[in-house]
């Protein structure tokens, strides 16, 4: 047994280890790194190099041709534009092909990058609408032509791009009658200046144009943030009415979706490292302030933390309930041979859930099972993680039940207790005590696994850090911050479980 003194030393050592990590990260974050040399100076240099794009964008579709031309070109597809930009800065890729306006926003924040003068391609942006929804397409085209005619669209674009930025913000006309219901807009808010986060809200050209359209149509605009490659799925499955995310009309996309008339033109440009730029490193305090304090950006972390805790907590409860029922059914079947059908259902459940990744399950539940329903994302995450965790908890409980000596069972039955009474009063309390460490481990895994919630556009803790990353272009502090919070949560959880374990064991020790 540990003595109190040894325990204190361990406790101290753990806290010291955490502090050591934090200090190392602070040092790393403030030291300067030399930029890798740029080798791409025009469209012709692209073949044979490593090109970054945002998954599912026009840039992705267009450069994919390079992949098959035998020139050894590698395409790296990122979920967000700014992940590609960060990879470019770190020298992991040679160039990023992305829309012109977001590119401008990126190089303003990253002076060590530049845009090549030669444009990659020019393209029109349009609004995507589910195939066959001709009524909505017609109304949106009508709204667009009216908004173009009265200069609203130009004024919105000028408010974000050019010398007069910020001077002509769009405001809804007063007294709009919103009796025509909700207009749900799917977007990917990492595409400045079209859509991005500012002060906790999604803003940008596309958002203002969609607002103006909703005003014109007498509807109430609702914005759903998701991965770019999920937007078309969301619109065609009916989860969203329109997709507005700087989308270009392409032949492939037209197979799955309809487009409105274009509302603006943009070009795909090539972003590369600027060999002449001097890298300016900012110190830790500046970075910290910029990442967390400016514009109350810590709020993204707090919102995410709240959602992560809600999801993990309710999913754990659901997991216990499902796991408990499945374990009781399975072990009863093993002991008595009854409940054949229920046992078969449970076996199928365990096989499927344990045989597929949690992330795929989450996506299936969100996009297929609740496909056309507008359902709360936190609820979806709780369901998904609860169902997932239930399978693991079931096997943990079952091993716990099986670990109890059969003599316990026989003693209780010989006294006249029924099978159920024996399970509830004698077997399960002992089984629970035995499986507590394994159960705690499962909940630690569950807590960390909720970090994939971002894939359905839910702001969990990880996604909260990602949003900050997309605003400040600093990878280090938001990621380390998020990691630290997870670490602290897990440490608290294990401490609580250890206390509970000690209390439950106290009566069995001499």
């Amino acid at each position: 047994m540990q003595t109190k003194r040894q325990k204190n030393i361990y406790g101290f050592f753990r806290i010291f280890a955490v502090l050591f990590c934090v200090c190392t990260c602070m040092l790393l974050s403030s030291c300067q790194k030399k930029l890798a040399e740029n080798k791409v100076f025009g469209v012709d240099d692209l073949s044979g190099s490593v090109i970054g794009v945002q998954l599912g964008t026009t840039g992705d579709i267009l450069v994919s041709d390079y992949e098959e031309d035998g020139s050894d070109t590698t395409i790296e597809r990122f979920n967000k534009g700014n992940d590609a930009i960060q990879a470019l800065k770190q020298g992991k890729i040679d160039a990023v092909i992305i829309d012109a306006q977001p590119a401008n926003a990126f190089i303003q924040a990253n002076p060590e990058l530049m845009i090549l003068e030669e444009e990659f391609v020019k393209e029109d942006y349009a609004i995507s609408i589910a195939k066959g929804n001709t009524e909505l397409t017609a109304s949106i085209n009508k709204a667009l032509s009216s908004l173009k005619a009265d200069g609203t669209i130009d004024s919105i674009i000028n408010n974000y791009i050019g010398e007069n930025a910020g001077k002509s913000p769009y405001t809804s006309p007063s007294g709009v009658n919103r009796s025509n219901g909700n207009l749900i807009m799917a977007t990917n808010a990492y595409f400045k200046p079209y859509e991005y986060y500012e002060n906790g809200k999604i803003v940008g050209i596309d958002v203002d144009i969609a607002t103006a359209i909703a005003d014109y149509l007498g509807m109430n605009l609702k914005i759903e943030d998701m991965e770019f490659d999920s937007i078309i799925t969301a619109v065609s499955s009916g989860k969203a009415d329109i997709g507005v995310a700087g989308m270009t009309v392409t032949a492939d996309r037209l197979k799955n979706i309809d487009f409105s008339d274009p509302y603006t033109t943009s070009s795909q440009v090539i972003v590369v490292r600027n060999n002449e730029a001097v890298q300016s490193g900012s110190n830790f305090v500046e970075k910290f302030t910029n990442d967390f304090i400016t514009d109350n950006r810590y709020q993204y972390i707090l919102t995410g933390l709240k959602n992560t805790l809600i999801i993990a907590f309710f999913a754990a409860i659901m997991g216990i309930v499902i796991g408990f029922l499945v374990a009781v059914i399975r072990s009863s079947h093993d002991k008595t041979g009854n409940m054949k059908i229920l046992n078969a259902i449970c076996s199928v459940y365990l096989t499927i859930i344990r045989g597929t990744p949690a992330m795929v399950q989450l996506l299936i539940i969100y996009y297929i099972i609740f496909g056309s329903m507008n359902v709360n994302k936190i609820l979806v995450a709780v369901l998904s993680f609860g169902i997932n965790s239930g399978a693991y908890v079931a096997e943990i409980f079952r091993s716990g039940i099986m670990s109890i000596d059969n003599g316990q069972f026989e003693a209780a039955r010989s006294l006249g207790l029924t099978y159920n009474q024996t399970m509830i009063s004698v077997i399960l309390p002992q089984a629970f005590k035995n499986v507590l460490p394994a159960l705690a481990n499962e909940f630690i895994v569950l807590l960390k696994e909720t970090s994939i919630s971002g894939y359905i556009g839910l702001t969990d803790l990880t996604r909260g850090g990602d949003i900050i990353r997309s605003i400040t272009y600093d990878a280090m502090l938001p990621l380390i911050g998020v990691a630290l919070i997870y670490l602290i949560l897990v440490m608290i959880l294990s401490t609580l479980v250890k206390k509970l374990e000690r209390r439950l064991r106290s009566n069995e020790r001499n």
Binding site: D405, G407, S414, L415, G416, Q421, V426, N507, E508, R509
Partner: protein, 250 residues
């Protein structure tokens, strides 16, 4: 439970009992009758089916064939509520099987309270009485892990007694005990026998069997090979198997 009109003192009747595991015959055509107040010692070499026989009497082992009649009711019949029958048949196990997550008192009160045979207060009163009877009054609030083997077995006997059983089955109650603790458990069982309790005891304690039993049964190869009152059983064995067995153990 159905009472038969036959008011004789037959408590338990075993007819043609047979138990087969895979192809291995453990019990083969066992027939016997247990009268109220009898104390039966079941003796025999290991693996001869003694424990299986005992466990068949309260359906912890389901017989392959044959009948077990308790007050004339065939308890091997699936339509019989076996839980109600078991309330009347107490059992004490070789390894005590106390519930480690409950206090000694709760071990004893659990079944009477759960089965709504007694109120919690009455059950506690009864538990304390029984604990006093087995000499463990001061242990009521401790947990099984804090008791010695002999003490545990005494608690197990009290736990079975709390149900006011009509018959008690002892499955090698002293085999898992250190030698110096055997005596205290046998004393309790003997007191129980003296109080008129009907009992079947699987045991290797020959001296105890001779002293306490009203009848001894010798099991070998899944059959009752010899059956007699203790004096004749030990001093004048008939079958060669029993003679050989006694010559080894006495």
């Amino acid at each position: 439970m159905s009472e038969t009109n036959n008011m004789s003192d037959i408590l338990l009747e075993v007819k043609g009992l047979r138990k087969v595991y895979d192809k291995h015959v453990v019990l083969d055509n066992i027939n016997t009758t247990v009268h109220k107040g009898e104390v039966i010692a079941i003796i025999g070499p290991s693996g001869c089916g003694k424990s299986t026989f005992l466990r068949s009497l309260n359906m912890l082992e389901i017989p392959t064939a044959g009948q077990v009649l308790f007050h004339g009711t065939d308890i091997t019949d699936k339509s019989v509520n076996i839980n109600e029958i078991r309330e009347k048949i107490g059992m004490v196990f070789q390894h005590f099987n106390l519930f480690p997550n409950m206090t000694i008192r709760d071990n004893i009160c659990l079944a009477p309270v759960k089965l709504k045979l007694m109120s919690r207060e009455d059950a506690v009163k009864k538990a304390d009485e029984l604990l006093a009877r087995v000499g463990l009054k001061d242990k009521a609030d401790t947990y099984p892990a804090m008791l010695s083997g002999g003490q545990k077995q005494r608690v197990a006997i009290a736990r079975a007694m709390a149900m006011n059983p009509e018959i008690m089955l002892f499955d090698e109650p002293t085999s898992a005990l250190d030698p110096e603790m055997v005596g205290e458990v046998l004393t309790i069982i003997k007191e129980l026998a003296d109080s008129g309790m009907t009992m079947l005891i699987v045991t290797h304690e020959m001296g105890f069997a001779k002293e306490v039993a009203s009848r001894c049964m010798f099991f070998s190869d899944g059959m009752i090979t010899e059956e007699n009152e203790p004096k004749a059983f030990f001093e004048n064995p008939q079958s060669p198997r029993l003679k050989e067995f006694l010559s080894k153990v006495l």
